[in-house]
């Protein structure tokens, strides 16, 4: 009999089931063809109970937490009554449980003695699923129909037999079928491994106990989440942030607005007040908005809470349909990553109001997407997709990290040398840019720039960046980071180009992207002068900026701080800026204070 109160047997079971989810994730990771998938960890694996409730999810991409249940709901709606052993399901339709078209879900129901006990689940971001722009990530499509192959929930395997019609349809509609099929193979292999190991679990514990423990695993996560929420203050906090534009209606800002209501052991994340859905392809599905909300809230909860349904029960997420956080047909959504990142930052903003000493200022805004695609002389296609981010907002106790992925996506950078070996692209720079980080008692993360030189005759460059007009905010006296920037041919015409663009490029063209600097935390005049000196010595901060922002005078001949001059300068700045209270959120630089005598 299942005794779910046996804490020891339960812990052993929990260990086993999460190790299956991780093992699935490793299988996908190591055999994948897609760079997006591997380097961005843009995939997830999981385990759900017979009703599709998520029991365990492999630790890969925070941005996917919550996506598997939504997709499984749709599978259950379509096939709940007719499902049989040996079936495998495939889907990617954002308007029927999916997220955006490149994310293809594969599910396998797991049976024991004729009874469905669980689902093995995988979702992977594929290199290309067709559509008008290579990589299927275009940010300027205005309806889903332009974005690529839309796969409704379908049986890829019917009682163990593969449906070749589906495979041929996919093959003819994607640019790189070998890569897509290679990654589908990895997804199927992961499901197969899960099936095998789950069978061993059932053999050891018995079906009844396994079912009971899956329920208990969810309850356990709920208990942990609620216990942690209970320790946070009750109340209501709001935060507002803006995306510059959607790349179609240039210059029209998009509002993100969140209200956190924390009462007892429950948290409501309500996005009512967020802008209506937009023409450009940055509309979230609700599942993605949920993932963004969970990412923010989970980051202020203690570690060790399993990723499953139990978390979702304690953290409720609401976002009205037809908004940029919950798009409806025919919303384009291929590049919705941007909105996910920024909703995460928006939740962090609200959490910073709730827990001033626990949460960081705004980072660079999440990843910039850059894709370069086209055809070689022999008409074979190339697709280079790069996502990059790396500056963390300053924290109430430490500087923001320089060169570290955003919390929403634990991505890695592509190796430059591998990029150059495989694509007609040369990187001319990948380095920190000084004087861009937001000042503060703790400064924001330093952003970097990447310069891409194009080596093929002709190609299409597409860029999705943001934080150009709405800069990364600083907190509690900290300054905002400097805006992002894009340039064409920086060593030639050096033309400033929009944050979102699609354009033809030719051999020798150089595109430069500079990330936004991250926001600072606390009054810059309270920063330890030794830290200012260190940044100046490391050429992350100019001596002029050290004086203007921090009131610190550095002698660059001896590499020392002129303590007396610094003290006078700080006093001067303090008097002139005339703060009566420390500004809580800063979107723009404090008014410049005229240089005092040194």
């Amino acid at each position: 009999m299942a005794d779910t109160r046996d804490p020891i047997a339960f812990e052993l079971f929990k260990n086993a089931i999460f190790s299956i989810a991780d093992e699935m994730a490793l299988t996908v990771f190591r055999t994948t063809y897609s760079g997006v998938l591997k380097d961005n960890m843009d995939y997830s694996t999981g385990f759900a109970d017979a009703n599709g409730k998520l029991v365990a999810q492999g630790l890969t991409l925070p941005g996917h937490l919550g996506s598997i249940p939504t997709a499984l709901e749709s599978i259950m709606r379509h096939f709940g009554d007719t499902m049989v052993e040996g079936d495998v399901f495939i889907m990617n339709d954002p308007f029927d449980g999916g997220m955006h078209l490149p994310d293809i879900f594969v599910f396998k129901p797991l049976y024991h003695a004729g009874e469905r006990l669980a689902f093995a689940a995988t979702v992977c971001h594929h290199t290309d699923v067709g559509g008008r722009v290579a990589g299927s990530n275009a940010s300027d499509s205005t309806e889903i129909y332009a974005e690529g192959l839309r796969i409704p929930p379908l049986r890829l395997y019917e009682a163990g037999k593969r449906n070749e019609t589906i495979m041929s349809f996919i093959e003819k509609n994607v640019r790189l079928p070998v890569k897509v099929f290679g990654d589908l193979r990895a997804q199927l292999a992961a499901c197969h491994i899960a099936e095998k190991q789950f069978a061993e679990l059932v053999a050891r514990y018995g079906a009844t106990t396994v079912k009971a423990y899956m329920v208990e695993t969810i309850d356990y996560a709920e208990r942990l989440t609620r216990a942690a929420l209970l320790k946070l203050p009750d109340g209501q906090w709001t935060f507002e942030d803006w995306i510059d534009d959607d790349g179609v209606d240039y210059g029209k800002p998009i509002r993100l607005f969140v209200t956190l209501t924390k009462k007892g052991d429950h948290m409501l994340v309500d996005w009512t007040g967020t802008s209506p859905q937009v023409k450009g392809a940055i509309n979230n599905t609700l599942s993605f908005t949920k993932a963004a909300s969970y990412t923010g809230v989970r980051s202020v909860l203690p570690p060790g809470i399993p990723n499953n349904e139990g978390v979702f029960r304690a953290i409720e997420v609401v976002c009205p349909p037809g908004t940029v956080g919950n798009g409806v047909l025919p919303a384009a959504c291929a590049a919705r990553g941007l909105t996910g990142f920024r909703m995460t930052d928006c939740v962090f903003g609200a959490l910073a109001m709730m827990l001033p000493d626990k949460v960081y200022a705004a980072g660079d805004g999440g990843n910039t997407g850059i894709s370069i695609g086209g055809y070689h002389a022999d008409r074979s296609p190339f697709i280079y997709v790069d996502f990059t981010c790396g500056a963390w907002g300053a924290r109430p106790w430490a500087d923001g990290l320089d060169g570290n992925s955003h919390m929403f996506a634990n991505m890695a950078s592509h190796s430059i040398e591998v990029t150059e070996a495989e694509h007609p692209i040369q990187l001319l720079a990948y380095e920190f840019v000084p004087d861009k980080a937001g000042a503060g008692k703790f400064r924001g993360g330093v952003p970097f720039r990447r310069d891409y030189k194009f080596l093929e005759e002709e190609g299409v460059l597409q860029v999705r960046s943001d934080r150009r007009t709405h800069r990364p905010f600083g907190l509690y006296g900290g300054s905002p980071g400097q805006p992002s920037a894009n340039y064409m041919n920086p060593d030639g015409a050096n033309e400033l180009v929009p944050s979102k663009l699609t354009m033809t490029i030719r051999k020798g063209d150089v595109f430069r992207h500079v990330l936004a600097g991250a926001g600072g935390w606390g009054d810059p005049l309270e920063r330890d002068p030794a830290k200012v000196l260190k940044d100046v010595r490391n050429e992350l901060l100019s001596p002029a900026k050290a004086r203007a922002d921090y009131g610190v005078v550095v002698d660059t001949a001896t590499w020392t701080v002129d303590a007396g001059a610094s003290e006078r300068l700080r006093g001067e700045i303090r008097r002139r800026r005339g703060w009566t209270t420390t500004p809580v959120v800063q979107w723009t630089d404090p008014a410049p204070v005229a240089q005092a005598a040194e």
Partner: protein, 696 residues
């Protein structure tokens, strides 16, 4: 006949272990406190003590084999050389930006490890090599001179050079190296093409920098040790254990200290490998459990499984090996170890969800487990084992440490059993099982995660706590055989005695197998093999004593992870390429459960050569005899074996008692470890005095 000795010396943070193995099979062991200020001193003094106790003299020593944490400590404590880095203009921050990834999700407090070379000591030069190796922009020599001068003016103690795409053409790196050698002939210098001629700039930069960073420290240490040995009248040559399980001379280690950084845990695995070969065991999983962590590795058909890179100070595995980004990346071959934070000192606690948890926090050496009576207040795994009757409170380290069993029971009652509503033995047993299940994750990550079924392997258990858990873990994994070597607690230093001299070389060589220029690949391989042979010759290995093996890494075109397969001797021709494609496909299927069709292009990624210097004097004798006498047979005691079996009056025996096979439950008590034999298992001794446990 004179008895000569081989010496194994393993330095840990707390203890230095010395093992002497005589050509007649005699063994002398010595455990002394490490001299942290000068590790060499403890070795020399320890040897002097052994000489004094045994009458062995310096002249009787044939060879000293040494595993050391000197280099890894320098990295972990940031006490390496002040190092300068010269790199390509535009790429000054590759070292610091790393891969962007962090090892933890949802952690606002994450701190990136500080770069080993601060930005101001990273200088750029104007030059560019293209991906195909052509010179895109010639090196500006004046610029390079200036960069070197600037670093010298800053007083750097070592210089690393790593330029973009230098794996494809090292010409510019060589020019800069020449400038450094001209301006500062004695400057320790680490050049990426010489250190790691492989693609991926971050991996190569990080490895080249680590090599430079520890170079002066390792050189200084080896000089001091050599001097100490000479003064003590020990002229024997000194060999260093590498992270890959092979030995290298101290001269080679001085030049490429990056190879000896993770030498600590290697000894035990190599020892296990030698035993597996001697006993013709096709597969073993090593399980080494000490006070704070447990480590697992596999040996298949006599070969240790290796990883091509790892992180120094990357910390223990937290649930999954997917989460990378901790520590300092070092791309040199190393024994593939999975490590989890479970040891005797791991804390037992109850989380907010009411679940019993073990570690990863540890009570450490101080205050240690509650039963040590040194002020520990929180229950540990060792306390659980005392409550369960597995550990004899009067016989830890042969009775040198007395344990307070009552305190262990009291703390388990108060902090674990009470809150969970369980009786104390049940709670302690639960802690024991959960610790075992955490360690099983390490074993799974070196077996099932690579398509290996643990049931096809024997579990080889050592370390102070390994034999305590081995039987139960084997049972959970469906394994039917456990082997516990003699002196399990000292096995890591003992294992050093079994190793061979080894040098690993690899080079990026990306070519589709169907579009390969055979002459080119053969000449590239011959060049690597030539390097290996030359190095072996310098060290005195020639003819049959010098063996060169080849291997190659492949992937399906478009994949980024590779798998390595052995390459037979002889020239590479079309037939061999077909053979290698097939071998790769089979390995892919075995590891991941699937493979691509034959039409899918296979890409060669890197070529590898391992040069081995084989001992002429033969291996370790079979009849090893520890010098330490066994204690009197202890009385039986009550031990708890779970709710089904309950408390059982359990016989306690010495290793030698197993000359006659016995069945569990049984406790084998030794000076340095305790082995628990569960009911249903049969224990016996093999000819080499290994305890063999078989499930009946």
């Amino acid at each position: 006949m004179t008895v000569t000795y081989r010496v194994g010396v393993d330095i840990g943070g707390t203890f230095t272990d010395i093992v002497l193995l005589g050509s007649d099979g005699s063994i002398h062991t010595k455990k002394i406190s490490s001299s942290v200020d000068n590790y060499a001193r403890a070795i020399v003094e320890g040897l002097a003590e052994v000489f004094h106790e045994t009458g062995v003299t310096g002249g009787d020593i044939e060879e000293i084999r040494h595993g050391t944490t000197v280099a890894s400590n320098a990295i972990l404590e940031h006490k390496g050389a002040t190092t300068g880095l010269i790199t390509t203009k535009g790429f000054r921050d590759v070292l610091e930006i790393r891969t962007l990834r962090m090892p933890r999700l949802y952690d606002i407090a994450w701190e990136k490890p500080a770069p080993l070379v601060e930005r101001r000591l990273r200088r750029v030069v104007d030059e560019r090599i293209a991906a195909d190796g052509s010179v895109d922009r010639a090196l500006d020599a004046a610029d390079a001179e200036q960069a070197v001068d600037a670093l010298l003016a800053e007083g750097v103690e070592a210089i690393a050079i790593c330029l973009l795409n230098s794996y494809a053409n090292p010409v510019h790196e060589r020019m800069i190296a020449d400038i450094v050698r001209r301006k500062a002939p004695d400057m320790p210098l680490s050049v990426s093409f010489e250190v790691l001629p492989e693609i991926k700039e971050y991996e190569r930069t990080s490895t080249t920098v680590i090599n430079a960073y520890v170079m002066p420290i390792v050189a200084r240490y080896l000089r001091a040790l050599r001097g100490g040995l000479d003064r003590a009248g020990v002229p024997a040559r000194l060999l260093l254990m590498q992270s890959n399980g092979g030995l290298m001379t101290s001269e080679a280690a001085t030049e490429k200290p990056m190879n000896i950084i993770e030498s600590g845990p290697a000894g035990g695995v190599v020892g296990a490998q030698a035993l597996a070969r001697a006993k013709s065991m096709s597969g073993i999983i090593t399980f080494d459990m000490g006070g704070t962590t447990a480590k697992a590795a596999t040996v298949e058909n006599g070969q240790v499984s290796r990883a091509s890179e790892y992180s120094v100070g990357g910390g223990i595995m937290i649930g999954s090996r997917l989460l990378t980004g901790a520590g300092y990346l070092l791309k040199v071959p190393a024994i593939d170890l999975a490590e989890v934070g479970a040891g005797g000192g791991s804390l037992v606690w109850i989380d907010a969800g009411g679940s019993l948890q073990i570690g990863p926090e540890s009570a450490g050496a101080s205050p240690g487990p509650v039963c040590y009576d040194k002020g520990g207040e929180n229950p540990t795994v060792t306390d659980a084992n005392v409550v369960l009757g597995y550990i004899n409170p009067g016989y830890l380290v042969g009775g040198a440490v007395k344990l307070n069993a009552d305190k262990a029971r009291a703390v388990f009652t108060e902090k674990v059993a009470g809150p969970l509503g369980l009786e104390v033995a049940r709670a302690a047993h639960g802690a024991h099982l959960i610790a075992a299940s955490n360690m099983i994750r390490a074993i799974r990550s070196v077996s099932t995660e690579r398509g290996r079924d643990p049931r096809d392997f024997a579990l080889f258990a050592f370390g102070g706590n390994g034999p305590l858990f081995a039987c139960g873990m084997a049972e959970s994994l469906g394994m039917t055989r456990v082997v516990v070597p003699p002196s399990p607690g000292l096995f890591s230093s003992f294992g050093l005695l079994y190793a061979d001299v080894e040098h690993h070389y690899s080079r990026t060589f990306r070519r589709l197998t169907r579009k390969m220029d055979l002459a080119e690949v053969n000449s590239a391989w011959d060049a690597l093999a030539g390097q290996a042979r030359h190095q072996l010759e310098v060290e005195g290995f020639t003819g049959a004593a010098a063996r060169v093996n080849r291997a190659a890494s492949f992937h399906y075109q478009g994949q980024t992870f590779d798998l390595t397969v052995p390459v037979p001797d002889g020239p590479v021709d079309q037939a061999m390429l077909r053979h290698l494609e097939e071998a790769y496909g089979r390995e892919h299927e075995r590891t991941y459960g699937h493979r691509a069709g034959v039409e899918e292009p296979v890409e060669l990624v890197s070529i590898q050569v391992v040069g081995q210097g084989l001992r002429t004097g033969g291996g370790v004798p079979d009849n090893v005899r520890p010098s330490r006498a066994e204690p009197d047979a202890p009385p039986p005691r009550r031990a708890y074996f779970g709710p089904d079996k309950g408390w059982i009056e359990t016989p306690v025996v010495r290793r030698s008692d197993l000359a006659t096979a016995m069945t569990g439950p049984l406790i084998v008590e030794e000076y340095d470890a305790t082995c628990v034999v569960l009911p249903g298992w049969r224990a016996s001794l093999d000819a080499s005095r290994n305890i063999a446990l078989d499930r009946g």
